[in-house]
């Protein structure tokens, strides 16, 4: 009895192997966990050091003495060669006044026709004495009667004034007034509303965001009459402040989500934020992941669509790329056109894209594993032609594939950098001539050229550029896995990828939803797109405040 039980207890080697099999994933997990916590501690420290703020300099208060103040401002602006001073006298009274503005940022017409004119020539003697105090004009009088400017602020300190002037406002100093006026005259040049280059559609609005935040928010507002569209303004960047607006639907978006977005944006702590990519990298959940956890888009219709599902958009001044959070994997493979076209083509294109993703990151890996590990899995006739074409290739499959893959990547990168007229010429030289010559010279086989070409084409069909980058990187990892373990390695790699995807979250929303966690009702808008008639509710995974979309 005992002996027969003992006979079934495996060898110590089996125990050792299973121990190793348990330790390795745990070690990987611990390592990444540790890297992350180490980083958090670091950022925590830096947060502490930033608590001290600069002390106030009392000298910077305006004194009310015109000559002295003007001198102080001149002194302050001495470093800025593009700041202009214009001194003049107000109308008939003869009070001294000066305007300070930045050439190019301020609206020339506005200054000439409205500010200067109203102060100098059109100024009439005050009918009543109560507007004059000690021979000076009162602040209210100028504000209410003289300046025909839409937006006027007041500043009491040079510190308050300088940033405004440097972003296009015009400062107006008047003798006898302690405060100075900041007149909104900024007139930054902005691009017209053009079709977005990175997200072209056949059918759908041609409008794309531009670099101007006001234009972008206006595009969202103009999309339709919708009082529940909330636009909340933040400033990011410590040294170079930029406006950032988060947009959401007041009565749709989950409050917790909005609060989380606000919290993360407040935590951004950096000198300047040149592009929304910075914001993306500061607010994403897992910076070690290869997958983009924030969607960027240039299309207003896409943003509105996301807002209507209860998502939150983040618009940054100075970039046409608007961020959408939270994001799921399936979202990145959809285009607005899926909805604009009828549901059957929409569905088929979606399935096609999923297939293309599969091809784009597994095709070379499968090629390598078939060629160097599993010759029996290739259909006989194909095997013959592969052997025939590979006969003179001196490299193993992995080196062969790497040669071609890397040259394709270089070609792509070079194509981006080159000026537009040269691009196609280089594509021909690189793609056709080198490809053909490499086959002729026996460096790579024809079959591989086909595989790599199909891979490249498939990766172009991914609608989201950042996701395309992800799969370009994964392709190489897959190729190495295939070269080491064959199909077994490819499967391990795929499982690893799946487990990562399932664990990944974007703003609390599981990245792989609605597949995992499984919500059947959301599958209506997943790999297939059901007719609009049937999509009566907003996605369940968003926990929207108002789940009913239709009917």
């Amino acid at each position: 009895m005992w002996k027969s039980i003992v006979a079934y207890i495996p060898d110590w080697k089996v125990f050792a192997l299973s121990l190793i099999a348990a330790i390795i994933p745990y070690a990987i997990y611990k390592t990444f966990d540790w890297i992350r916590t180490a980083d958090k501690m670091k950022s925590g420290e830096s947060m502490d050091s930033n608590q001290t703020t600069q002390a106030q300099d009392p000298n910077e208060w305006f004194t009310g003495d015109f000559a002295k103040d003007l001198e102080a401002v001149r002194h302050e602006m001495a470093r800025h060669s593009d700041v202009y001073f214009r001194e003049f006298q107000i109308g008939g009274i003869g009070l001294k006044a000066a305007i300070v503005f930045v050439e190019g940022l301020s609206d020339k017409n506005l200054i000439d026709k409205h500010i200067m004119k109203s102060l100098m020539s059109d100024y009439e003697e005050c009918p009543k004495d109560r507007h004059r105090t000690n021979g000076n004009l009162s602040k209210e009088y100028i504000l209410n009667k003289v300046l025909s400017i839409r937006k006027v602020d007041e500043a009491r300190r040079i510190k308050e004034m300088t940033p405004k002037v440097l972003t296009g406002s015009t400062a107006l100093m008047i003798e006898g007034l302690q405060d100075i006026f900041l007149l909104e005259t900024s007139n930054g040049k902005s691009r017209n509303i053009e079709e977005p280059i990175s997200e072209g559609l056949i059918r759908g609005p041609r409008a794309g965001f531009n670099e101007n935040l006001c234009d972008n928010t206006a595009l969202l507002r103009r999309d339709g009459e919708n009082p529940s569209l909330s636009l909340i303004k933040f400033q990011v960047g410590k040294r170079e402040k930029r406006d950032l607006v988060i947009a959401y639907m007041e009565d749709i978006a989950e409050t917790k989500l909005v609060e989380e977005v606000k919290r993360r944006i407040r935590k951004i702590d950096i000198d300047s934020v040149p592009e929304s990519g910075y914001v993306e990298q500061f607010i994403e959940d897992n910076y070690l992941s290869l997958f983009p956890q924030v969607q960027n888009t240039e299309r207003p219709d896409r943003v509105i669509g996301a807002l209507m599902e209860g998502r939150v958009a983040i618009l940054l001044d100075g970039t046409p790329f608007v961020l959408i959070v939270p994001v799921t994997f399936s979202m990145l493979l959809q285009t607005p056109e899926d909805y604009y076209e009828r549901w059957i083509p929409g569905t088929l294109f979606r399935l096609l894209r999923y297939f293309a993703v599969f091809v784009s990151f597994l095709a070379p890996a499968l090629y390598i594993s078939f060629i160097s590990f599993h010759p029996g899995l290739i259909p006989t006739k194909l095997a013959i032609s592969i052997i025939g074409t590979r006969g003179i290739v001196p490299f193993p499959a992995i080196i062969e594939a790497l040669i071609l893959e890397i040259s394709i990547e270089i070609l792509r990168e070079a194509g981006l950098r080159l000026p537009k007229p040269v691009g196609p010429a280089m594509g021909i030289v690189g793609g056709l001539i080198i490809g053909e010559a490499a086959v002729q010279a026996g460096i790579v086989s024809q079959i591989l050229v086909i595989v790599i070409a199909v891979t490249a084409i498939s990766s172009f069909s991914i609608p989201h550029y950042s996701l395309g980058l992800t799969f370009r990187i994964l392709r190489f990892i897959g190729m190495f896995c295939a070269a080491v373990f064959g199909l077994y390695g490819v499967i391990l790699f795929f499982l690893l990828l799946c487990s990562h995807l399932v664990k990944l979250k974007s703003f609390g929303l599981p990245y792989a939803s609605p597949a995992v966690p499984y919500r059947l009702s959301d599958w209506k808008d997943f790999m297939i797109r059901m007719p609009l008639l049937m999509m009566k509710r907003r996605p369940k995974m968003m926990h929207t405040r108002n789940p009913i979309r239709k009917g």
Partner: protein, 406 residues
């Protein structure tokens, strides 16, 4: 903190990469460093010239020259060169013969003779020669193919009434004989003289059940091959018993109803002219009847088809009459074929290769238990009744004066 954390994470990722790359290309074997063998022919031992010369030089190992196995290896480099337009008349395959007793040993011996070791994944056909199969148990001959993990159970098994090695030779430089044999086996829908292909997997089942069965016979002459009848393998000894010719095989197909297409040729009894029937469908139901110790069978064969060839000139009395007469003629033809095959297998050879035993097992399991031990012998005594019903559904669009006349 900062510095150490980065250097440590760098170190860890280096270790991971190191572990990954240290494994190298584990057990990889590039496809172009292998040779694919697609056909094997087994014959009685007959040492080839090259082998003789090699043995004279000292290339020998302990063995009995029991059989000669000929392995057909593809040489795709030649095929590839030919595709590129070069008029190379090099054949796309090469046959290597080894003589010995263990099949596995012979296949591994090939590794001493070529730089590219053999892989069996793509093995398509195994052809066994007449002499070898008459004197050896087929199960033993094929044991290696059943056991090898690389070889697929879909590999087909054939018999050759000549030397099997001849069937792996071809005259034309474009054909690979192994592919050709496997390809001809697919032509069942064109002619009813081809057995449903017998794969290794199916053959394994036949071996287990112990019943007698048929294998397609392939013959070859001057590098041209032909499927000609079938070989009868006795269930008990698993040895070759004899061959059925084409006409008899046709009868087998009719009786078992396994045909997918083909023809029946006959002569109109009134005018003695040729008429031909194209088989569109074929169905056979066999019933077993037990009456005491008497076992009898009744086979009902039904077929639908069309009149495809008619040489009778004008004067056929009426369309329907003519068609009934033609049907009758075809039915007689089929009955005759079946009678002939029954006579050959049941009476002469005394084996049941037509599946009667199986029907008896299904319909009368108790009786079957009693007779199954010596079924071939019992079957010899059984009577078989035939009922053949052919119907001509269609006679083509030609306005045949003989038919259109009435």
């Amino acid at each position: 903190m900062n510095c150490t954390s980065y250097s440590r994470s760098l170190l860890i990722s280096l270790i991971f990469l190191g572990i990954l790359f240290l494994t190298g290309c584990w057990s990889s074997n590039e496809i172009d460093k292998l040779s694919v063998y697609v056909g094997v022919a087994l014959d009685t031992g007959k040492v080839t010239d090259i082998e003789n010369k090699l043995e004279e030089q000292g290339g020998r190992y302990p063995k009995k020259d029991l059989m000669t196995s000929t392995i057909q290896i593809l040489t795709p480099q030649a095929a590839g060169a030919a595709n590129k337009g070069g008029q190379s008349k090099q054949k796309p395959y090469a046959n290597i013969s080894e003589t010995g007793d263990s099949l596995f040993e012979m296949i591994r011996e090939v590794s001493l003779r070529t730089d590219k070791p053999l892989i069996g994944h793509h093995l398509k056909v195994v052809v066994i020669g007449d002499d070898l199969a008459r004197n050896n148990n087929i199960e033993h001959l094929l044991d290696f193919f059943f056991r090898d993990n690389d070889i697929r159970p879909s590999c087909l098994v054939f018999m050759s009434s000549g030397r099997a090695i001849e069937t792996l030779k071809s005259k034309s430089p474009d054909d690979v004989p192994a592919f050709k044999i496997a390809g001809i086996a697919d032509n069942q829908y064109r002619i009813s003289k081809i057995l449903p292909p017998m794969s290794l997997g199916k053959l394994k089942g036949e071996m287990q059940s112990g019943s007698s069965f048929l294998l397609q016979n392939v013959i070859s002459a001057n590098g041209e091959m032909k499927f000609a009848g079938a070989a009868v393998i006795q269930g008990k000894t698993k040895k070759l018993l004899g061959f059925l010719d084409e006409q008899q095989l046709n009868g087998v197909i009719w009786l078992t109803g396994k045909g997918k297409g083909g023809l029946v040729k006959s002569f109109d009894e009134m005018m003695g002219r040729l008429i031909t029937y194209e088989i569109k469908s074929m169905k056979s139901t066999i019933h077993a009847y037990v009456d005491g110790n008497d076992i009898s069978f009744r086979a009902v064969i039904k077929s639908e088809g069309r009149l495809i060839e008619n040489w009778t000139a004008k004067g056929a009395p009426s369309k329907n009459k003519f068609l009934r007469r033609a049907e009758k003629a075809f039915e007689q033809e089929v009955e005759q074929m079946i009678d002939e095959v029954l006579k050959k297998t049941q009476k002469d050879m005394g084996v049941d290769v037509l599946g009667f035993g199986n029907r008896l097992r299904i319909e009368h399991p108790n009786t079957w238990e009693k007779v199954k031990r010596d079924w071939d012998k019992t079957f010899r005594e059984a009577t078989v009744k035939l009922e053949v019903k052919l119907s001509i559904e269609d006679y083509g669009a030609i306005i045949d004066s003989s038919i259109a006349a009435d």
